[in-house]
Symmetry: C2
Subunit: 165 residues, 2 copies
């Protein structure tokens, strides 16, 4: 069972080296706005767009479902910007990231979101494909648009297998 990893629950702490968790936190820190009729929570993520002529855009992505175990042979990263995925349905999805090791992805880590959790990959973080589980899922995407090469892909010599937790 070499080249096998197991998905675990997505938490802010475990995901911190790779990005931000976007959800409705239980902790305090709500700031009243609109005359007290609404409350703003502290920012959960920054959308970063580097490079000449780049900007931050809000888009929508339709994802087809995957099943576990999942074969992982490709990861990618975006050198010029962060990338957030916010699900528009409650179903959990799979988030796969890798630490960088001298310009190439190290051992992948897989996280399973809780209902309504989204994520924001930090700029230049290796990550796997968008992976809804069991059924199609739509996502709001907040990421960089503009000129420049903002995609780097890496194909593993030998695929990884992601198992359910």
């Amino acid at each position: 069972m070499s080249r096998t990893i197991t998905a675990r629950a997505l938490t802010r702490k475990a995901f911190a080296p790779f990005g931000d968790v976007i959800d409705k936190p239980n902790y305090p820190g709500r700031i009243p706005i609109n005359g007290g009729r609404a409350r703003r929570l502290p920012p959960m993520a920054e959308a970063v767009a580097a490079g000449e002529g780049g900007g931050v855009f809000i888009s929508l992505v339709e994802g087809d479902p995957y099943a576990l175990p999942l074969k992982l042979d490709l990861v990618e990263r975006h050198p010029l910007g962060s990338q957030a995925f916010i699900p528009l349905t409650a179903e959990p999805f799979l988030v796969i990231v890798c630490p960088d090791e001298n310009g190439r992805p190290g051992t992948p880590q897989a996280f399973l979101t809780a209902p309504w959790q989204g994520i924001n990959y930090h700029r230049n973080t290796w990550h796997g494909v968008l992976a809804p589980l069991g059924q199609p899922q739509d996502f709001i995407v907040v990421d960089r648009g503009g000129p420049g090469v903002n995609l780097e892909e890496w194909t593993f010599d030998e695929p990884w297998t992601v198992l359910p937790g």
Copy 2:
């Protein structure tokens, strides 16, 4: 019934002078990504952050419900950035905007969203408070953070009344 406006359905065309509609459009233009396992739609909105040290952040806002008719006595605008609200529940909410007339808000216009529609106010667009209807609603907010004065408020001498369409 002077100082009264009637809410109408939110459409891209009607809202274009004020901002963007964020939803899942029926039109084509989907770009395959992730080896064809996902499709990216053309960007619906740009998140703008002007001014020294500003950035784009992803936050969450909890909104208390309003009822129609709604009394509108205050609008605001953000000189340094756009502001997007993406609902996390299906319920429609009320969007109120005003054209600018020599630095002050003109006659308000009210729009009622369809389920799951969100909006992005363009930078410096006069708009009313976040107005869920009938029940509380959470929103993902994508807007500018950073130093500088990014809020201008305007209180109407005589309130407007917003009626259901």
